[in-house]
């Protein structure tokens, strides 16, 4: 039997390739200078969803994203890899949302979609690194959640079995459906774009657009007004070695280094 799967995905600035002009003078992120990409761990999430679709006939994968109109490309990227369709939540009312307001908006959209079995998202986005949105969505929907997933092992008899990657090992846990899972970057890489799907979806509308009103969202809980978190400033911290030291590989030099590191409390 098939499952109805929703993938939560975000378009993010590519913070892995930060140039000099990544920050504006006022301390905010200069989005224009950074290429917009599919959040990497959301791609891991998409792959898990597509694997379920490959494995369980009749499954569908729907991509849900929130952002400016150009974030439609996230849904399109999903279609290129095998997703069935998607929704873009886009409205000025959603702008400036923190994780609380974001998870509220996403949960209203999911309620509007209605029928689902599994929601899969990346663990966290590379622009905020909070890892809060997935868990908050699960809370708002009142469904179980499993975080740090590395692999969805099976979905049988209404139960999903998932391998989690933890700091010191792995654990395998089970949950009943419907539920939400967040996926780690250590999970399988997402499959490449498929040529035929790309040609099929390269033109035309990729996503159904929804405004706040379309998903019956309470404006007070959306965007800036729904966000208790206020960003004071963002700083670009550049790590640089001010002074360097060259060591030879003798036992004595290594011993001296260890002593120095212990003395200045770097280690020990």
């Amino acid at each position: 039997m098939g499952f109805k799967i929703i993938v939560l995905a975000k378009q993010v600035p590519d913070t892995r390739n930060v140039g000099k002009d990544a920050m504006k003078e006022d301390g905010t992120v200069n989005r224009a200078a950074l290429p917009a990409i599919f959040n990497p761990e959301d791609l891991n999430a998409l792959e898990q969803a597509l694997r379920l679709k490959d494995r369980y006939d009749g499954s569908t994968v729907t991509v849900l994203t929130m952002g400016p109109p150009r974030a439609e490309e996230i849904v399109r990227e999903g279609l290129f890899r095998g997703a069935d369709g998607g929704y873009l939540l886009t409205d000025r009312a959603f702008a400036g949302a923190d994780t609380l307001a974001t998870s509220y908006a996403l949960s209203t959209a999911i309620k509007k979609i209605g029928d689902f079995d599994i929601i899969i998202s990346g663990r966290q986005a590379i622009d905020g690194d909070t890892a809060q949105v997935g868990p908050q969505v699960a809370e708002k929907l009142g469904i179980p959640q499993i975080t740090y997933a590395e692999e969805i092992l099976s979905v049988e008899n209404g139960k999903i079995k998932i391998k989690r990657r933890l700091e010191r090992g792995v654990e395998v846990v089970e949950s009943k459906l419907p539920m939400l899972v967040t996926v780690n970057g250590s999970a399988a890489d997402c499959r490449p774009r498929n040529a035929k799907l790309l040609l099929r979806h390269k033109k035309g509308v990729a996503a159904t657009e929804w405004s706040a009103a379309d998903v019956n969202a309470d404006p007070q809980q959306c965007g800036l007004s729904g966000s208790p978190t206020k960003v004071k400033a963002i700083e670009s911290v550049v790590f640089q070695a001010k002074e360097s030291k060259t060591l030879d590989s003798s036992d004595q030099a290594i011993e001296e280094l260890i002593v120095e590191l212990i003395t200045n409390h770097t280690i020990g």
Binding site: R191, P192, R193, A195, K196, R200, K202
Partner: protein, 576 residues
Amino acid sequence: MSNFYLDNPALKHHLHHPLMRRIAELKERNYTDAENYDYAPVDFEDALDSYEKVMEVAGDVIGEVVAPNAEEVDHVGPSVVNNRVVYAPGTAENLKATTQAGLMGLSMPRRYEGLNLPMVAFIMASDMAARADAGFCNLWALQDCAETIYEFGDEAQKQKYIPRVCAGATMSMDLTEPDAGSDLQAVMLRATYDEANDCWRLNGVKRFITNGDSDIHLVLARSEEGTKDGRGLSMFIYDKNDGGVNVRRIENKMGIKGSPTCELTYKNVKAELCGSRKLGLIKYVMSLMNGARLGIMAQATGLSEAAYREAIAYAKDRKQFGKAIIEFPAVYEMIANIKAKLDGSRAILYETARFVDVYKILEDIEKERKLDENEKAELKKYKKLADAFTPLGKAMNTEYANQNTYDTIQIHGGSGFMKDYPCERYYRDARITNIYEGTTQLQVVAAIRHVLTGTYLSHWKEVYQQEKLDAKLHGLQNRVAHLVEIYEKLVPFVAETRNQPLIDFQARRLVEAAGNITLSYLLLSDANRDYEQFGSSAEVYVTLAEVEIAKIQKYITEFNPDNLKFYRQTEEQTEG
């Protein structure tokens, strides 16, 4: 993060060649497929955009998956377990990624689940794949065997096999046997008709079969008992699901190690006849081989590309005597020559692919409707050009791949001899390209006909010399015209002796001269469209061509036919 299409502007240049408009219009039957398939283009711009998009997908998978796996695949290689081939893990991953990316059955029609791309695009993906891993290029490019089923198989076979290839089934062409290599007329593998089960049965041995444990095999076998030549051979399709073919061993090769080269045993194997009896060698294999030769041209070009990139990166990085070695004329000359030969190789590769596209698509259209007179003439013209350019390009590009990978090692000095740099792998991989699918010596046999009948000469005069070039290329154009004048005298000088052994002896030199002139003209044309990218290569290549042709001219005009005796090793001489 590397994309082998996006990081190589030469590919885009060739994908945007003016003849592509005609090719796309023919391939898309005036864009009528768009009515039935949502992924078919609606006009030329849409088609070209689609070709580019698919090349980007290919460039991404090849750059991100195939290339990083290449070194490990070369070291680990495939193995045989219980008569089955087990690919190196990297090879298996490559196959999975290329299948997921929908890069199988690229050129097959949409009604069989293909992408209906022209040969130019398929060849471009091969060119990229070979740059990453020449051995993997073989496995992937063998999908082209589906072309034989499409051209000659019956409708049931097309429906049964082609969609499987598009979904990722691998293929092989089982031709060679221990006593039938270049001379395929000697094939002995026996095909007998099994009346009771209403099918053909194959028995015998095949050798040197690339990817011999594939899912779908094309097998050349002797169906006519008692015959001894090519007319007794037919083509069969063997489906691995039916079983019966075992891998006895795989060869331990010098290069293309990721590509398993198998010895196969056939024991009462069920097979289907493909096409008509007795046409196996004389029609189908000839067609298959022409496609394969074009594929090897692409493989050689990709290897030259890889070599060039390694050479220039190393020469910029390596410092000796206080400066980067690329500053030294002895080194930058080698790099400039590699680049010129690379650009020339790519020019004839895509020129040939375009010729093949035009005539093959017209042949396909001819099965649907009658061609008008213009189309018939077009088909004939391009078929002849494809026949002439395929052996010429195969000979030139594969010899150049050897020279280029050799020079890249030289630029690396002692480091190039070590396994630390990929150039030694390119060198080993390149070495097979001028041997398989017909040695250079056999390409010369095919190409010399077109030297003697004037195919190349008339094409230069009627097409290349008529091209209006920018004024800054006129000097080069005149120099190439002068080479044509020399060539025009050399050909009759040899031919009119009517001394067959002498003609055979000088054939390679004449074919090389034809290759030098053809590549010179093609580079002029490329430089005319994009001087910044190809101007230097045109200059460097024409200089190389002049030197080569001067040498050839001296050899041919001053050679005393009586001296052939010094070259010919008689039985008497070789006995001791």
